[in-house]
Every structure is written in structure tokens, then in C-alpha cells.
Amino acid sequence: MSSIYSKAEKPRQGGLNRVRVSDVIIAIIILILCATCILPFLHIASKSISSNTAVLAKSVYLLPKQVNFDAYASIFRDGQLTYSMGYSIVVTLLFTLIGMVVTICAAYPLSRSLLKGRRVFSLIILFTLYFNAGIIPEYLLFKQLGLINTMWVLILPLSFSPYNMLIMRTYLESTIPESLYEAAYLDGASHFQMLSRVTLPLSKPILATLSLFYAVGRWNAYADARYFITRKALQPIQYLLSNMVLSSGADAISLAEGAAVTSTPEVLQAATVMFATLPILLIYPFIQKHFVKGVMVGAVKG
């Protein structure tokens, strides 16, 4: 954590420690930018638990009026979104797990300078990052592989990210000294043992960071669901959301008849957005402190 924040903590001005006008102006600008990141969500959250009349009267700003949870109740009664959320969590966990295993299997060997053919293997893997076959060839390939309209089309094709591999490789190269490996080697350690006893314990920040990247990437993506999946039960929550909240007119929100919706589309839409954002809003503050350092070390040279 330290390095990114440390500069401001020691006064640069020698003894001059008083707050100047420019300090206040900078703080105000930052404050306004932060407000643009918080206020919209406060507004949407308030709308989602306000009464229909208050929302229709356009009197809900940043605080809820006549609090009720009807909209959330209909989301749970309807069950579509809750099912989809559970499904998306399973997909995201599998995706992250597979992605991390494959990334480690690539990053460790490629970070070792003694590996013969390191450059060639790196090129083979990184080429795919810069040259994409495009949607149609991918579609035909996945069809051949029998992945179309299965959960696995959301997991396997994208689960190994060469970009994340690059970040991890750079991190390993710049943080784990060769002398540690030499010592392990002299103790008779094999590469598998070096990986599990030296490399992995020392790379927890980057492992946490990349797990987050994989998880968030999968959680948020839905274009592939649109391309490769037509069965509703296999579609992730973001795709469902894009159908419910956006579908062209921007006001076409639909839950099943049986859900007995009593909220106006406006309120229901706000509740839907909050429902789908909540997992990220809940997890984010806790993992936030882990990723900054990992990103910085991995990305500066990346």
C-alpha cells in the first residue's frame, strides 16, 4: 500500500506546512469527481426503495421517500434474476479458478530465465492477444467443439488471459530474486516444489489481484452470451439485465406475470440495477486495498 500514498504524507515543503488556497481547490475538484461516482448510485438506491407516487412525482433525489421494498420483493418472487445471479456466481468461480491455474502454469515457467525457448513460448501465447480471429471463426470453432449453448462457452474460451499472464510474469520477474531459486535448487527442490513453496507463497498480492481481474471480467461481460447462447437458462445476469433494462426503448422492463409486480417500471428498473450491482459494491471495499500494489508492480513494465 505504502508507496502510492506515501508522497503526500511527508510534506514536500520543508517546514511550510500550512494549507494553501491551491490545496483547497484541488481537494474540491477531487471531491466533485468522487461525487459523480457516488451520487448516481445513491439516487438509484433511493429510488429503488421509494414509493411509486414519490418517484412518479419526481421528488426522489438522494434520499428515499416512503420507504418500502416492494420492488425487491417482486424480483425475488419472479426468481429469474435470483436464479441468474446464482448461475453467474458459479460461472464466475469456475472461470476464475481455471483462469488462475492456467495463468500460473504459464507465468512461472516463462518468468524463469533458465528456460530454453522462453521467447518462442511467450510469442506463441502473446500473439493471440494482438491478433484476434473474430467472432464468426470463433463461433464456427465453438460449434465444432460442441460449446455453443452450454455453460462452458462462457468459461473455457476466455478463461486464460495472456494479458493477465503478462502481468504475473512481470511481477514474478521483478519481485522474486534468482538467489531464492538457486537456494531451493541446491536443497534439491524440483520446479514443482519451487513453484508451490517459493513462488506462490511470495506472490499472494498478484494472485489476489489477478483473481479479482478474472472474476470481475467474467461477471461483467455478456457479449459472448449474446453471440453463443440462445437458451435463457444459460445466460448470465448481465445479459438478462441488458435485456430487461436497456432493450432499445430504455423503458421496457419485464418480469413474469406471476411475479405480481406492483412497482412502476421506473422503481423496478432501479431495484434491478441495484440488485445486480450489489455483489460488486459489497466485495469491492474489502479487496480494494489488495489490488493497487499488485497492479502497479505488474503493470509498470508490462
Partner: protein
């Protein structure tokens, strides 16, 4: 312990030719075993898709498959460049990518400079946490937020402006094409500014505090310190990122476009990703869509390669 009986025990192996090769293999075979998994992934899911690119040179119909399609050389490409839809999508893509670059590139730098100058450490930490958040939200969520805030009749901003008596009717932020373009661009700036600033802040921590002290002793004002110390200190990072971004000039993000799209703004929203989806997967014209994808990939690849050359020429170490 397999490696224990290896001679010599020193990691720097001795021997020549075949003996050396064998020694290496005995020592490092596990590394190659590990590499099998990622290589399998890229070959099965990436390289195996490349042969499909031949569709761009064929008269391909999904119902007939490869066997029932004939080679047509570069006909598809010739046709595409006479196709008004493609030309419009290409023009829009390049225009919006260029605008993204102009609007989006400087903002993270300015934000990083501001954060670097911010004096109140606790506030700074908190504001960074908040500013990184939009990066972790999907385009659906971001577009939904935009709808909630910008809709003409029920959007928060329009309601506030109306109540303040500043406007009569709601501003069509999302439904009139020029307003839409501004909203579309600014939402991306908003999403990326915090996250984009991390890398510059990282570069700034590498600047020696002595430079700042020397500048202060010389009586340099805050602006002069930023101009003469901070900015030169992050120049390399700026160049690298600028080049990387230039490489994306042919890119096109389907999720962003479809999330923000509506019938009123189709003129601008019609970009390459939309073209490929509508003509290809939805419309069944696989050859055209593949050809356009191939053009995108090829130009993008060339741009990245030349950017890499250029960066190495500048002595910035290159990207790959």
C-alpha cells in the same frame, strides 16, 4: 527429490551439445509440463479459430459449410469497400475511437497530477477507493446509471435543472445524436479516469524527492514543479500508453455500443462491432463479417507492431 543426483549441482550447467541438452531437459522438464496447459488453451481456443478466417476469401453460406463454398479471392473485400453500411461503420468507429483518445487520454493524467498534489492523506486514500469503482462495473450497469441520470423526463440531472429553472424541456442527452455522442464519450472517461490514473501515480512514486526539494529551493511554484519535475518524470509512461491507445483505433466494443444504443442515435451508434454482429451472426452473411473482423485484426496488429518499433526507437523499452 529428482534433481538431487543431477550433476553438476550448480544451476549453470556444464557440458556440450547433446549432453547439455539432456541435462537441461532433466532439470527443466517440469517447466515444459507446466507450459502444456496454457499452450493447449491457446491452441484449442485461439489458434484453432484462425483457419476459419478463410471464409473471408470464400463465398460461404452457413447451410452449405466449407465443402459447399467456393473460393472467391479478394472479391469479398472489394465488395465491402463499396458497401455503404461498412463505410459508415468504419467512419464512425474511427471517429469515435479518435474522440475517445482525445477526450479520454489526458483525463487520467490530470487526475493523477491532482491526486499527487493532494495534501490530506486520509481523504486521498478514500477518494482513490471511490474513483476506481466505476472501472469494476459492466457497460449495462453504466448505461443504466446513464439512463437514470440523463433521461429527458425522469433523469435526475434533467429534473434538477428543470426545478432550478435553468431549462424548459429535458436535455436529450441520450436520444439526440450529438448529445448522445458527448454522453457516450464522457461516460467512458468517467469509467476509466480513476483506474487509468493508477499507472501514472505509480510512475510518479518513482520520481526522486530530491528533484522536488531542489525545485522548491530554487523557488519554483507548484505549477512549475508539476511542469518541470512531475510531467518529465512520467513522460515515458505517457508515451507508452499513448501508443497502446493508438493501436486500438480500429477496435469496437459491442457491449458499450449496444448498452448505449437506441433507434434515435443509430446514425452514430452504427460502428464496426454492430456491423459485424448484425450482418454476420444475426444476418447470416458470415463472409462479410469475417472479412471485416480480419481487417480490424490486421490493422490493429500492424499498429501494435509499429507502435512497438516506435517505442523501442524512442528508447522506451517496447511493449511486447
Amino acid at each position: 527429490m529428482r534433481t538431487k543426483n543431477l550433476q553438476p549441482a550448480n544451476p549453470l550447467l556444464e557440458g556440450k551439445g547433446m549432453a547439455k541438452f539432456k541435462n537441461r531437459l532433466a532439470r527443466d522438464w517440469q517447466l515444459y509440463v507446466l507450459l502444456l496447459l496454457p499452450l493447449a488453451f491457446v491452441f484449442i481456443f485461439k489458434y484453432a479459430a484462425y483457419p476459419g478466417l478463410r471464409i473471408a476469401f470464400m463465398n460461404y453460406k452457413p447451410a452449405r459449410g466449407y465443402a459447399g463454398s467456393t473460393w472467391v479471392g479478394f472479391d469479398i473485400f472489394r465488395k465491402i469497400f463499396r458497401d455503404a453500411d461498412f463505410l459508415r461503420a468504419l467512419k464512425n468507429s474511427m471517429m469515435f475511437n479518435f474522440l475517445d483518445l482525445i477526450v479520454g487520454f489526458p483525463v487520467p493524467i490530470i487526475l493523477a497530477l491532482l491526486l499527487n498534489e493532494l495534501r490530506f492523506p486520509r481523504f486521498k486514500k478514500l477518494s482513490q477507493t471511490i474513483l476506481y469503482l466505476p472501472h469494476f462495473l459492466s457497460w449495462v450497469i453504466i448505461a443504466s446509471v446513464a439512463y437514470q441520470v440523463f433521461r429527458p423526463d425522469t433523469g435526475l440531472l434533467n429534473i434538477v435543472l428543470k426545478n432550478a429553472g435553468l431549462i424548459e424541456n429535458g436535455i436529450p442527452f441520450l436520444t439526440e445524436k450529438n448529445h448522445w455522442a458527448a454522453t457516450y464519450l464522457l461516460m467512458a472517461v468517467w469509467q476509466n479516469m480513476g483506474w487509468g490514473s493508477i499507472i501514472y501515480l505509480a510512475a510518479m512514486t518513482g520520481i526522486s524527492p530530491e528533484l522536488y526539494e531542489a525545485a522548491t529551493v530554487d523557488g519554483a511554484s507548484r505549477l512549475r514543479r508539476i511542469w518541470h519535475v512531475t510531467l518529465p518524470g512520467i513522460k515515458a509512461t505517457m508515451v507508452t500508453l499513448l501508443i497502446l491507445n493508438l493501436g486500438r483505433i480500429m477496435g469496437s466494443n459491442f457491449e458499450r455500443l449496444s448498452a448505449f444504443g437506441n433507434v434515435n442515435v443509430r446514425e452514430y451508434q452504427y460502428q464496426l462491432a454492430v456491423y459485424i454482429y448484425e450482418k454476420g451472426l444475426a444476418g447470416g452473411n458470415f463472409s462479410n463479417a469475417t472479412a471485416v473482423g480480419l481487417i480490424q485484426s490486421f490493422v490493429g496488429f500492424l499498429l501494435v507492431l509499429s507502435a512497438d518499433r516506435f517505442a523501442k526507437g524512442l528508447g522506451e523499452g517496447g511493449l511486447i
